[in-house]
Symmetry: C2
Subunit: 412 residues, 2 copies
């Protein structure tokens, strides 16, 4: 059971005009599970994406980038996205690229478009050949059940070690026009997105010009998926896709407009919700931890310190144990690589409890206060650096026995 994250309710997920979703059981890795998803787009749709910075980026990521690049050369619009689980098609060399391209070709033929109008995605085990024949054999079934209200099943179809599907919807009214948006995401391990999460898709029905959408997807990723970490392992397949189906009366062509600001706020809020769902369902997670680093010289050093805390196995196991062994947080701050950090100015808080004052234990700090906060399932660590006005927030989870069990069992 994910940390304070009730199952999404299928009926609450709103259809977004201009995008329909179909799934299949293609037997990619294991039989009898949804492992193939097709998202079909209206020709009015614009699509933008951000991808992993891992140098071993997967073959489908390379193909997606090439096809999106094509968009900017005014070629035909993206008509479908196809996602398989069970195999990441990463570390697979030229054979992997050929498999990703074959997937696009097969789906393009079924949909009557060009392969360059398809975006492929994969998630699962790395370094194993993609069973592209089984994947392609599953495509007709996925196309046969394409529906606008299939979001819940779509969220299920992209799960790997996730314990529950991740999906959410939102509305925002801009200039009197209601914009409907729905997103899905997946991921529970190998999560420290550096561009985007393992897989995230957010569709909305406004018409958004391509350069505006390109701007928004980066802005949204940087405020959501790029601020979460479970284990510090940046995946080979991270992708976050933003789809504007162009089916509503609202049209946004300018990132400086008030309409853009309103849309961006709503998209960021929904993207954060989806990103938080990933942390709440982090492998073995029992705590949802927010790390706020304030008063830094720049955002980069705030993020460095926040990630250093978030990745420390000692900090994570202390949270799992609800043990206020908070010196471990100081140690993680100290080795974060901010070389001129003056720790004698630093203050540390756990929720409302002032733990460290001017770099040492706050004389008023009482163990029982730390203990009280540590027992909660949602905890905020706040670090004040007293050297500037930059800040950053990172979300993470604890490290439990269950994390080890899951990852010592993954392929067996």
């Amino acid at each position: 059971m994910a940390v304070n994250s009730p199952l999404p309710v299928a009926a609450d997920l709103k259809a977004v005009a201009g995008i329909s979703l179909g799934f299949a059981q293609a037997g990619i890795r294991k039989p009898n599970r949804k492992d193939l998803l097709v998202m079909s787009l209206a020709p009015t749709a614009t699509v933008s994406g951000v991808f992993t910075t891992n140098r071993f980026c997967a073959a489908p990521v390379q193909v997606c980038k090439a096809h999106l690049e094509g968009l900017h050369m005014a070629s035909a619009p993206i008509r479908a996205l196809v996602v398989n689980t069970g195999n990441a098609n990463a570390g697979t060399g030229d054979a992997g690229l050929a498999a990703a391209n074959a997937t696009c070709a097969a789906l393009a033929e079924l949909m009557g478009c060009e392969p360059a109008q398809i975006l492929p995605f994969s998630t699962g085990v790395i370094l194993e050949p993609l069973p592209v024949d089984r994947l392609c054999a599953g495509l007709p079934a996925a196309i046969a059940n394409l529906k606008e209200d299939n979001w819940y099943a779509a969220a299920e179809a992209i799960m790997t070690t996730d314990t529950q599907p991740k999906a959410a919807s939102a509305n925002v009214t801009i200039n009197g026009v209601k914009v409907t948006m729905t997103g899905i995401s997946k991921g529970a391990g190998m999560i420290k997105p550096n561009m985007a999460t393992m897989l995230g898709y957010l569709a909305l029905d406004a018409k958004v010009a391509q350069p505006v959408l390109d701007h928004l997807v980066i802005q949204a990723a940087n405020k959501s998926f790029n601020c979460i970490t479970i284990d510090g392992d940046t995946s080979t397949n991270d992708s976050f896709m933003l789809i504007a189906t162009g089916q509503s009366a609202l049209e946004i062509n300018d990132v400086e407009s008030p309409e853009y600001a309103a849309l961006a706020e709503a998209v960021i809020a929904l993207a954060q919700k989806l990103a938080h769902m990933i942390i709440r369902d982090g492998e073995g997670a029992t705590k949802f931890i927010t790390i706020q680093v304030e008063q830094g010289r720049d955002v980069e050093e705030c993020r460095k310190i926040a990630y250093s805390i978030a990745h420390s196995p000692l900090v994570k196991t202390a949270f799992f144990a609800s043990d206020p062994n908070l010196g471990r947080i100081l140690a993680a701050i100290g080795y974060a690589g901010v070389h001129d950090l003056d720790v004698s100015q630093l203050n540390l808080y756990l929720d409302d409890v002032w733990v460290a004052k001017n770099g040492g234990r706050n004389p008023d700090y009482r163990e029982e206060d730390g203990q009280r906060v540590m027992k909660q399932s949602e905890i905020t660590i706040k670090v004040k650096l007293a050297r500037g006005d930059a800040n950053a927030t990172i979300w993470t989870c604890d490290l439990s026995h269950e994390y080890v069990s899951i990852n010592a069992d993954y392929r067996s």
Copy 2:
């Protein structure tokens, strides 16, 4: 039981003329355990040390640095080292500094020297006040049992979560003079030394000039303790001390001399042995893993990639499971931060098994070969980058349930 690391045999540990060791049960954190160690030096001794780069470096580390700095201003030689376990005296602010200085003053008075001739060390919980009264009350008992052949008990006296004491001796004959050296170390968690390990002490009986010893301690640390990691958590208290008691007929005054080279080789070998003992006794460790990164442009990028592999929870749990889920190693290489790495040239080996060839799965790789190596308790990962001739080696261990248990229980 540490990985392939039999208990040191007390009788095998050689006394080093000019250094005697005494311990006590001071009740620093828990009763009835050795938690205080005094090492008394002949006035002929030279001492050099390297310390943690953690910005939250502990109060005793700050005092050690100041006292060693004093040496370079030709003040009186270091006469004793004092080590307590059970409390790190880190994150303790001005009160912590006062406690470390009080420890030096108390021991100096008992030994008839100046406080600046004492080096204090602490290891244990961070952010808690050092019980300096109990520590000082234990000093007379420690002094009362000072002996040259107390090395085994000394190794026991500095243990925290270690499951066994770490100690080793070696001889080297230089210019016909036999040099005897013995070292001890401790540490099992919060281990990614960045200068030195949690605590390491290596004494030898040659006479080594101060600048030569200063050079050697850095060289030895960089080849041993600075190449190990258990959990990536660089401690607040890491210290590695090299002591030359000056009691043998060999005198070394020049780092360019063949005598220096011979001594350095022997010291490095012993320091590596002590560092490996820490990994073999890593918290919950079941595997001893050597990571060799070759053909890099510079040592820095080789170390980046080696640490990225060594710190990946997914790689570590796969080794715990003996599961050749080796794509996780590629992912860790890919996000190591070597931004222009051309993965299509990269080769990966597990012992003698060629796993990835030119960035993809080696067509000749068979899962059963990977499985065979993964089942061993000692495994070498070799990465060839094909972009230069630099290389680096890092030693680490796996991540098991036991690691989580130990660190979720540490203070309770």
